[in-house]
């Protein structure tokens, strides 16, 4: 009877707990133990491949810890460890003791009854240091992990790579434009927790975090280092307002280096002036000056209105424009007499360029300016890009054509000038500017591969070849860019020294010196553009005096690095593996 009664009692209790009270009890249990545990995804890396195929990290993510304390858990025996802790945290002992609420090397009585259970002690502690802190076994000491962005190469290519702020917001550069790929997806675990520990057996749902993809850049860290070192030299000597150097492969359009002065270290971005974050090669349009004469010469040669031997009287101070207006021509840097087209390019005659433009006509000249990519974005997806300023022909006055042929009355970004020169170098194709060559998943498998993209044909390959020969003369002894001459190599290029507009007028003291060139001229491996905006201290900045020597120094460093052969055929091992572009659009 007793047994039956016992069974009955147990049965009743079981039914009550499992049937009657079950919903309420389950809910109570869930409320106290159920947790959704977020799982952070790791942001992908940004890296480049060196010539041996090794990876060089430009941006990566690492865990850093915020170390905090629960002052109520500190024990008397731990007081002696606080001095070691202060050394590890790099803080003064009194500062750490203050954090724990320790007064005169003892715990105050009010400590145990304190309500505050978390006090921040230090931020951005790395794993190795945190491990040493944990080894001290101080009660009440906790660390909270957080992924943070690290830029191991410091300021190298900082304008290209961009920046992710401490709060995780990508601000500019590749970090921002490719955020979709880099970011990854956060995951979560629905589970039950007791005493701060997950009870894995009660896990209900697990959505793993998906780490971000990694990006491979076409930038070469050696090239980038050389051009940044060169910018430092220029900055020391000329104290320019800004300067930039661009290096690319003319056949693929991929950038090998892009550097700006002033620059910044993304690891300590707040310490630098906001203006140093600007990628001036893309955002700041300048008057290109004489480097723009390649457009006038190309247009005249392509339209067959001149050949390289056609002669023009460059001593004349006026010229009748196609609309009948007689324009006064600005003086040349030196008085010329009759010059051939070859002479106009080699000696950089403003008046000669105006003659060429007049023969081509406003509409056609404008068309060539557009074809060379001026007035439109280069397509480099690393942030805000200016189109420059190019007015349509209907807004031109009587002087515009004569001024534009010599690189005034138009504004272009350094990147536009660079790619215009690259189109002459590669035989007449305007390439899309690119810097991301591959996107890889977490297993390092290629997800997207970018190849050369042709925007359009600008001029015929014959015209490009003819113009290259003229530009070789410019960069040879006797030409305006003779300082770019490298023994054994045929260097082609064009200098530019543009006056800056100060207070609404062209200043004779403020100049922008530039040089854009390529080599070896017959089968170019590299296009290099150097632009120095030297308006700060009235320094004597000029294309031939400032930009050309920089071009030469960079070239001399890159010739052995890429094993660029002086012979006419491209060396088999120089810049190998880059596909030949295929024209895809008009």
């Amino acid at each position: 009877m007793c047994i039956l009664f016992g069974y009955g009692a147990i049965g009743y209790r079981l039914v009550k707990l499992h049937v009657v009270d079950a919903p309420r009890l389950t809910k109570e249990l869930e409320n106290s133990r159920y947790r959704v545990i977020p799982l952070n995804s790791r942001r992908g890396d940004i890296f480049t491949y060196d010539l041996n195929g090794g990876k060089e990290l430009f941006a990566t993510s690492q865990t850093l810890l915020e170390v905090g304390i629960d002052p109520t858990l500190l024990k008397e025996k731990d007081l002696g460890k606080l001095s070691k802790l202060s050394l590890l945290l790099g803080k003064e002992l009194w500062d750490v003791e203050k954090g724990f609420g320790v007064v005169e090397n003892r715990l105050p009585d009010s400590q145990k009854s304190g309500r505050e259970r978390w006090r921040l002690l230090a931020r951005r502690i790395d794993e190795a240091k945190y491990q040493k802190i944990v080894d001290l076994e101080i009660s009440g000491l906790y660390g909270t992990r957080k992924y943070e962005r690290v830029y191991p190469k410091k300021s190298l290519a900082s304008h290209v790579v961009g920046l992710v702020r401490r709060d995780g917001e990508s601000v500019f550069g590749i970090e921002k434009e490719f955020d979709f790929y880099l970011n990854g997806q956060r995951g979560w675990r629905e589970s039950e927790v007791t005493a701060g520990q997950e009870m894995a057996q009660f896990r209900r749902r697990y959505v793993p975090a998906r780490d971000g993809m990694s990006l491979a850049l076409s930038i070469d860290s050696y090239v980038q280092h050389q051009i940044e070192a060169e910018l430092e030299l220029i900055a020391e000597e000329y104290h320019p307002e800004s300067a930039c150097i661009i290096v690319s492969d003319p056949y693929s359009g991929f950038l090998l280096g892009l550097a700006n002065y002033p620059t910044f270290d993304p690891n300590h971005y707040a310490k630098f002036d906001q203006s140093s974050h600007k990628n001036r090669a893309m955002t700041d349009p300048i008057e290109p000056g004489s480097t723009f004469k390649i457009v006038a010469a190309s247009a005249a040669l392509e339209e067959d209105v001149v050949d390289i031997h056609s002669k023009f009287d460059c001593s004349l101070p006026t010229l009748r424009m196609p609309n009948g207006y007689v324009a006064k021509l600005p003086k040349d840097w030196k008085t010329f007499g009759v010059l051939s087209v070859e002479g106009i390019v080699t000696y950089s005659s403003n008046r000669g360029a105006a003659h060429l433009g007049t023969l081509v006509g406003s509409e056609k000249f404008y068309d060539y300016v557009r074809r060379f990519g001026f007035g439109e974005k280069t397509g480099l997806d690393i942030g805000i890009e200016s189109r420059g300023i190019l007015h349509p022909v209907r807004n031109w006055d009587g002087l515009t054509l004569s001024r534009m042929t010599m690189g005034h009355a138009i504004s272009a970004t350094p990147l536009q000038i660079h790619y215009a020169m690259a189109s002459v170098a590669n035989g007449g194709l305007l390439m899309r500017s690119q810097v991301v060559s591959r996107i890889l998943d977490t297993e390092s498998k290629e997800v997207v591969t970018y190849g050369p993209m042709v925007k359009r044909r600008v001029i015929s390959s014959e015209t490009a070849k003819t113009l290259s020969q003229l530009l070789v003369k410019t960069a040879s002894p006797g030409g305006t860019a003779h300082g770019a001459f490298i023994s054994g190599y045929r260097v082609a290029g064009k200098t530019g020294t543009a006056q800056k507009i100060v207070d609404g007028r062209y200043s004779s003291h403020h100049h922008i010196g530039s040089f854009s060139g390529f080599f070896p001229a017959d089968d170019p491996s590299l296009v290099i553009t150097v632009i120095v905006d030297g308006s700060r201290k009235d320094m004597p900045v000029s294309g031939s005096g400032t930009a050309v020597p920089a071009f030469r120094r960079i070239s001399e460093k890159l010739i052995p690095y890429y094993a660029i052969s002086p012979k006419e055929e491209r060396a088999a091992f120089a810049l190998s593996g880059r596909p030949t572009p295929v024209e895809t659009s008009n």
């Binding site: 790791r42 060089e56 990290l57 990566t60 993510s61 690492q62 865990t63 790395d126 794993e127 190795a128 690290v150 191991p152 190469k153 410091k154 190298l156 997950e198 009870m199 894995a200 057996q201 896990r203 860290s221 050696y222 280092h225 490298i486 023994s487 054994g488 070239s555 001399e556 460093k557 010739i559 052995p560 690095y561 094993a563 052969s565 002086p566 012979k567 060396a571």
Partner: protein
């Protein structure tokens, strides 16, 4: 008398069976309960082990990425140049005019060299 004893024996047998069945069912239910608890315990242990492995993997990956960062910092151009200076290694970048470029056909050059040696060897044999 016999019939009475027969009846009581029958009743005992039934009672014995009832007790036996009760004990057997109790043992079965108990065994099942113990088995369930044991299984749950095993599940919990396996889950915790998996969780620990998971944590370990996460930790290893964290250390690896930490190592990558340290390597990248250690191998940056600035750092290497700094070491070159500090340790007086005297390493320098190559200069473009130190390089001798072979611009002719390499195969032809090698062929000519080997042909020359054969020719020279035959001449010396004759002499």
């Amino acid at each position: 008398m016999n019939r009475k004893s027969n009846n009581s024996r029958k009743a005992n047998r039934i009672l014995n069976r009832l007790i036996l069945y009760s004990l057997t069912s109790l043992a079965l239910v108990g065994g099942f309960g113990v088995l369930t608890v044991w299984m749950r315990h095993q599940t919990s242990q396996t889950a915790n082990r998996l969780h620990a492995i998971e944590q370990k993997i996460v930790e290893e990956r964290r250390w690896l990425s930490q190592l990558d960062v340290q390597l990248a910092i250690g191998m940056s151009t600035d750092r290497l140049m700094d070491l070159n200076r500090k340790l007086n290694l005297g390493l320098r970048e190559p200069v473009y005019n130190q390089i001798v470029h072979v611009t002719e056909n390499v195969e032809l050059r090698l062929y000519e060299k080997s042909a020359n040696s054969v020719f020279t060897a035959s001449l010396s044999t004759v002499n």
